[in-house]
Symmetry: C2
Amino acid sequence: MENFIPEALFSMLERRDELSVAERKALESLSWRLRSYGDGDEIIPERSEPTESCLLVEGLAARSRQLANGNRQLTAVHVPGDFVDLHGLLLKVMDHAVMALAPCRMAFAPHSEVRRIAAEFPHLGRLLFMTVAIDAAIQRNWIACMGRMDPLRHIAYLVCEVYCRLDVVGQVKDRAFDFPVTQSEVADLVGLSIVHTNRTIQELRASGHVTWQGNQVIVHDWDGLARLADFDPTYLNLVRRPR
Amino acid sequence: MENFIPEALFSMLERRDELSVAERKALESLSWRLRSYGDGDEIIPERSEPTESCLLVEGLAARSRQLANGNRQLTAVHVPGDFVDLHGLLLKVMDHAVMALAPCRMAFAPHSEVRRIAAEFPHLGRLLFMTVAIDAAIQRNWIACMGRMDPLRHIAYLVCEVYCRLDVVGQVKDRAFDFPVTQSEVADLVGLSIVHTNRTIQELRASGHVTWQGNQVIVHDWDGLARLADFDPTYLNLVRRPR
DNA sequence: CGCTAGGTTGAGGTACGTCAAGCTAAGTGG
DNA sequence: CCACTTAGCTTGACGTACCTCAACCTAGCG
């Protein structure tokens, strides 16, 4: 629409495989519609049936599941470059909501057009669906973290993951990144109470591997942090390979 | 190869959308290779780079993640009809292992052929990748269960989910299904200790909603069980829709 | 200056995990 | 056919990691 160029998406995909000029042009040619959201805004409601896919351009978003007992669980974090709603394209009905964890800019493109370029450029289509598979891989690791890791390692793991994913799109500067997420939201990410989340973050700070105050996270000792969290970035597929 | 017809896959896909004759033929035409596995066998090792996708034909399988602290977390259950290793096709390197929860028969087809039919029949390709998106949706719900549900509801949810998924491929008879999984494996599925898993299963039995002895699970009161688990099958996409 | 959202701390209870033992049923070798 | 083993299930005792409740503190904002 407004000649939008999805740079972050290019970074995200090109980190995994080469994009041809035609493929880039195809992505650019979608009739993108840009929209902004405030902190906490609902971007895609649960049970809705989106007709557009959305790409996170700026900010931070999350997938959120509201349970009958009133609890909330966040099941994914999304960073710029993430094609957040390919799931909706394939699944039709949203089984969860997508919300802004921080002020966000999103770019929307009609499902019909995404389907068209995926069919016309099968390799590009595979790359787009690869992002869905990466989301799934991330979620598998979250399951492992929730089931079999203690809170300290779990939160350390979260920091490692967000660090890597933000790094792909150039949002890590001097081993530091912006993480405008409240401790209450972190609690809903890791499935702990707010109080225990707070204490665990303090414990993580005390470990000396990171500084985490306000929205700023600084990783002083990547290797130590990764060792603590048993973090192996293989699942993020940060390798350029023909796909 | 041996004129194999992936009936369970047809059921799985046709439950979600119509398959044309050409699409069915395309799936049949893959050079399937059949293999059997015993209980507990490793089907796809962690860190391997499969060149074939595999389809579960008979039995029960799981995705397994081994942690450095020696713990194991199972991150997914697979039932007949599940195209287990499309993830491998898109991701190249396995970030987890696939193992047999029970004696299994698997059908393997070369990635190159799967890629070819996905490109040649874009609608079929979307359906195949839809199964990846459904896996992701299932995992999101597992995350919610692990983070924000008590063990009783979590295990009840597991029963609901397996029930629905087995039903799609005709493996539920008279509200009962075969579930040849040890309590130790259930523990690794839900992220609890064996002892607590045992006590929770007893509690579930005592609730009267299910009989669960040996490998046999009988659901006496589906509505009650679903209410207990706050189970809403939307995420399984059990609706026929053009995709 | 007061209000609010977010962060922090303390106290007390409980739902989990761990350890250890005993039980049952199926399989194995004599 | 019976000892013996083994895998899986069950139970009890005990400790602790986590949750809940309730304050209080701080910074930002009207």
